[in-house]
Amino acid sequence: MYKFDAIIIGSGLAGLRAAYELVSNKINTAIISKVYPLRSHSIAAQGGVNAALANNENAKDDSWEKHACDTIKGSDYLGDQDAILKMCKEGPQRIFELEHWGCPFSRTDDGRISQRPFGGQGFPRTAYAADRTGHAMLHTLYEQIIRINEENKCLTFFNEWLVTRLIVNDKTITGIIALDLKTGNLELFKADAVIIATGGAGRLYGKSTNALINTGIGLSIAYHAGADLKDMEFIQFHPTTLFTTNILITEGARGEGGYLLNSAGERFLANYEDSKKAMEIAPRDIVSRNMIREIKKGNAINGQYLHLDLRHLGKNLIMERLPGVVELAGKFAGINAITEPIPVEPGQHYTMGGIDTDMDTKTKINGLYAAGEAACVSVHGANRLGGNSLLETVVFGAAAGEMAGKYIKTNSKSQISNLECDEALREEEKRISRLFEGEGRENAFNLFEELNRIMWENFGIFKEDAQMKAGQKEFKNIKERSRDLRLRYKGKRFNFELYWLLEFLGSINIAEAIIAGAIERAESRGSHYRTDYPKRDDENWLKHTIASYSQEGPKLSYKPVALGYVAPAERKY
């Protein structure tokens, strides 16, 4: 058994930023992650991070208030305005802090942090480190964690441990149980506070830009333990992912002036009412839908994909600002992005929903916090603007670390006995050994692939009642079959069949919450687009969906959106 004051699950940007806060305050902390540090999906963020620094010569009049207004509008008014104000106000401070820590941001001619235009933003306010901003930020944070821990020596990394269960007693977190992938043993960790920073659930979808590890299991363990999920039906689709592999091509490529072209070489976004003005830098949901419409019209290249064309930008600009795009297009599509257009299609990209938290990252379980993509504060509402997720990770990662630290120092802890914790461990050991003993007919790999197909086909860019209900029926069949799983490999050490099986069991819980929320929400808002209800309906649906776990499936309820700063209006670009 291990004992820490605080445990952070996940070592991406939100987790590391939370850790920085805790370690600075000399709180005995563990970071538990299923991968080594720096392998988390934050590393893949390309385009940048928003903050109203007003560094760009075209952004002299920018302010954090304007950033907030753009974010509120971008969220299609589902974002909580108090949380958005906090994020945008704190933004510049968090970016300067990273810069002071060594983050290699790209520069303006006079040596300040350079900022580029991004979709849905009134000013160029996206700070970036070429097109590898996530990499730059994550390495910087990891480096500074090493520094602060050299001083304070209170942080332990548990790399390649998969957390399978939270222990909650009397609505208070008391610990977690994790599987050491190396040994195959389950271990008990007692803790006064736990922060979930496990990222999103993109890999529920067949076509996704996300790392393979983004299965949503972190959301699932919290949900199972009694935390609520919020707004799970809001799934973002990114317009430009490489055709077939769905590797992300940054929005920065369009921010820098790249064109989207159909098979006739035409900038087709001009032909659609909602994108004809902003064109390529209209928000992601709008561009993705118009791309699918264009493909369905028969205007795709080879009937399957569209072109992202950078050629007119010239080699120098491309190599200076978008070198990662050139590398990815070359390696994964065999395309020279300087001389050839890049074949792209929309793909799943971001989970706007997540574990329901308040502005202070608190969940409804005492001592349990969530931050980053795993959480739903909510600052993205129905549609996230590019560049806001990296900002969210550092603003709310820091908040989670601060709040958890305060909680540890001030609250009386749950007096759970070792006996009760041991009991929880034994139950979890039994669950895992039942999986080993199971003689079922199904294997998790196949079921996961079926789940991916069901989600993409029925709960994707366009949704409609009958189709979703057909998808739900197929899902129920998968869920039923998931009770009949079998492990072919019985070894304990690095058993990836067991790993994927546990990930899959987590994923179906999350998929079920997405499905329930999407079927109920009879309107179109942001990324949630229903052909049978194509209009936003503030009268009935300006509210958050809350899903609570039950054995029979999600129990839905609704709660109000925090308004008061900007009144909902039509979202026009």
């Binding site: 300067f96 290699p104 480096e143 520094r147 790392a211 393979l212 590890i213 994964f332 069949e497």
Partner: protein, 236 residues
């Protein structure tokens, strides 16, 4: 579709007395990567196969391994571009095998943390950002792209025989901070690597730059550091 033989290093130190190779024949299409091949085998043929993965897009550095004689990332290695019928896959060198293609990165990360791998900014820190000209910033181009995948460490003959040697990735990081106009502890950084197991242990074999998936040259970084150290030592 083409039939390709995957010849994969297998070892469970708790069960096997010695490592061995397993052979799997799989059908491959244009666009399939070595990582996709490994997943195909794990899902459909042998679920006991163990290897690391995460981003599958050449940015996270999880899947560095030895493929047909060269260290590279499995996720960005196109099978058909290898132009062979047999692909031999082994784990990273110089690190203890935990199982199959998974090695223990602990010594690698320990080396990394020995070099003060963090910026210590000039004091006092400005209210906003440090001013860094585009020229100063351009000195960080490429060198900041290291993912710590370990390919250079696996390929480095010196790292193989000297466990105390800091190794190419850690030394590259030192040069990254030496180049940063915002950093304030250059002398301390140079002191750390001016050591028998620091830069002087590098024998300029250049394997690191041959294998780096990001086209970096730790060898060049080490040479730059040696030059700085020498210039400090010579009598003016």
């Amino acid at each position: 579709m083409k039939k390709i033989n995957f010849k994969i290093f297998r070892f469970d130190p708790e069960i096997n007395e010695a490592p061995y190779f397993d052979n799997f024949d799989i059908s491959v299409r244009h666009g399939d990567t070595v990582l996709a091949g490994l997943f195909y085998i794990q899902k459909n043929i042998d679920p006991s196969l163990a290897f690391r993965f995460s981003c599958r897009g050449a940015v996270c550095g999880s899947c560095a391994m030895h493929i047909n004689g060269k260290y590279c990332l499995a996720c960005e290695t196109q099978i058909l571009e290898l132009n062979t019928d047999t692909i031999t896959i082994q784990p990273l060198g110089h690190l203890q095998v935990l199982r199959d293609l998974i090695v223990d990165f602990t010594p690698f990360y320990e080396n990394y943390s020995r070099i003060k791998p963090y910026l210590v900014g000039k004091e006092p820190a400005p209210e906003k950002e440090y001013i860094q000209t585009p020229e100063e910033r351009s000195r960080l181009n490429n060198i900041i792209d290291c993912t710590l995948c370990g390919a250079c460490y696996g390929a480095c003959a010196t790292a193989g025989i000297n466990k105390e040697y800091l190794g190419p990735a850690a030394l590259l990081k030192v040069e990254r901070f030496l180049r940063d106009s915002r950093d304030s502890i250059a002398n301390e950084r140079l002191r750390i690597v001016d050591d028998l197991h620091g830069v002087w242990r590098c024998h300029s074999i250049f394997s690191c730059q041959e294998v780096c998936p990001k086209n970096l040259s730790p060898a060049k970084a080490i040479a730059e550091i040696k030059k700085k150290l020498l210039l400090k030592k010579v009598k003016r």
